[in-house]
């Protein structure tokens, strides 16, 4: 069964303010959804809803036709999330960060080659043993994105993946996402600049303040 993500009549209320309502969309294998909108329009909230970190005020989210709130861990096995804060431990080295992520996300000890390959792909080779706090902002962002490469997940939910990245970094992300879509993956991301991927199908949602 090919993966399918659906949102039905989502409503988001934050701090007593309705950010969006009646938002519905469907996403299938090989599709990318770009969420745009001004600051404070609820982009991050929407993404957190898709991860199950935030409960929608109304409506529901379906994965393979079942509510994600009832699928729980089964759904989390399909999901990779990159939040606003990267989720990188500053005290640990780049390789340790990835190794622990693998252990927790997949319950297995990853092979060193796999970690090395993911770091190299993200242009971080030579920095494996450096504590993440000595990496630059952009490098830390790349490290966070390297997580996507080590754990194979069908659905990528990325909050501003391009923040702090240089132009090579942006091209890198574009090609990584294109590969993911070609392999039948799904991706949802928020961005202020269009990513212009040349693979899969791209949908767009623009959130406007009510």
């Amino acid at each position: 069964m090919s993966p399918r993500l659906e949102a039905h009549a989502l409503e988001c209320v934050r701090g007593g303010r309705t950010l969006f309502q009646n938002l519905s969309f469907a996403l299938e294998a090989g599709e990318l959804l770009e969420v745009t909108g001004p600051n404070g329009s609820g982009k991050t909230s929407l993404l957190r809803m898709l991860c199950g970190l935030l409960a929608p005020a109304a409506g529901h989210i379906l994965w393979q036709g079942k509510k994600i709130s009832s699928l729980k861990e089964e759904y989390l096995k399909e999901l990779a999330y990159l939040g606003h804060a990267g989720g990188v431990k500053a005290e640990l080295s780049a390789a340790e960060n990835l190794r622990l992520h693998c252990g927790l996300a997949d319950g297995r000890r990853p092979r060193d080659e796999q970690i090395g390959a993911a770091l190299a792909r993200m242009g971080l080779d030579g920095n494996e043993a450096r504590p993440a706090k000595t990496l630059s902002q952009g490098q830390q962002r790349r490290l966070a994105l390297a997580r996507l490469l080590v754990s194979e997940r069908a659905l990528w939910v990325l909050d501003e993946p391009l923040t702090a990245l240089d132009s090579t970094g942006v091209r890198l992300i574009r090609s990584v996402i294109e590969e993911h879509l070609k392999a039948g993956g799904l991706a949802v991301l928020t961005t202020h600049q269009p990513l212009e991927v040349s693979a899969g199908r791209v949908g767009q949602i623009r959130l406007v303040p009510i």
């Binding site: 089964e74 989390l76 989720g87 640990l92 622990l100 927790l104």
Partner: protein
């Protein structure tokens, strides 16, 4: 599930080792607070022996409060808590792992140090053993209860003080029976009933705290 538990413990232990200054300061706090009493009260052995259980236990309680902000708040700030919450395992297992790691890092060294500190109060050897036993049963319960408070106050301003206000009253039973066990042992009575009650409290906390903490985390993270 066990693999997840192991990974979380390994992760937190590794992080504690990298930031060992923080862990050591909690331990030093415990040592200094306990050592201040013999200096302040004077070398009156009878008095010291009487206050010893209370002093050591209150100091242990305060030290464990001090270290609570390390359980979740660092992970909250750098976004790794979100990642932990998206681990495809029940959140209460992840939480339990973090609590076990917290105890291993702060509670266990405290248990090992306590008998040495007890010597300053002229606590008899038998009672020192009871002190260790009561701390072995009591400090994990403190970590469990404390984690719940830390999860509830996550991301709030002035959370540190609030945690103490929330958690300290909940820890009173542990304090009473922990100190009570040592006191009974010093006066020559049996500490068995106190220790049994402490054990019962630990089991109760072990059953409910991870689950309640996971629920509190979900609310705090929304």
């Amino acid at each position: 599930m066990l693999a997840t538990l192991r990974w979380v413990i390994q992760r937190d232990a590794m992080l504690a080792w990298r930031g060992r200054a923080g862990v050591l300061s909690t331990l030093l706090f415990f040592v200094i607070v306990v050592s201040l009493f013999p200096l302040g009260v004077g070398p009156e052995l009878n008095v010291l022996r009487t206050i010893a259980p209370g002093v050591v236990w209150v100091a242990a309680l305060l030290a464990s409060m001090l270290s609570l902000d390390r359980v979740f708040s660092h992970d909250y700030l750098d976004g790794t808590l979100e990642q932990l919450m998206l681990t495809p395992q029940p959140l209460s297992v992840v939480v339990l792992g973090k609590i076990v790691a917290h105890w291993l890092v702060t509670g266990a060294p405290l248990v090992l140090l306590a008998p040495v500190l007890g010597l300053q109060f002229d606590v008899p050897p038998g009672a020192l053993l009871t002190l260790v036993a009561s701390l072995v049963l009591g400090t994990p319960a403190l970590s469990l209860i404390g984690a719940f408070g830390a999860a509830l106050t996550l991301g709030l301003r002035g959370g540190g003080v609030l945690v103490s206000l929330l958690v300290l009253p909940l820890c009173i039973p542990v304090l009473i029976f922990g100190a009570g066990a040592v006191e009974a042992s010093i006066t020559g009575a049996s500490a068995e009933s106190h220790l049994s009650l402490l054990g019962a409290m630990l089991i109760l906390a072990l059953l409910f705290a991870p689950w309640a903490t996971a629920a509190a985390l979900r609310i705090s993270m929304e």
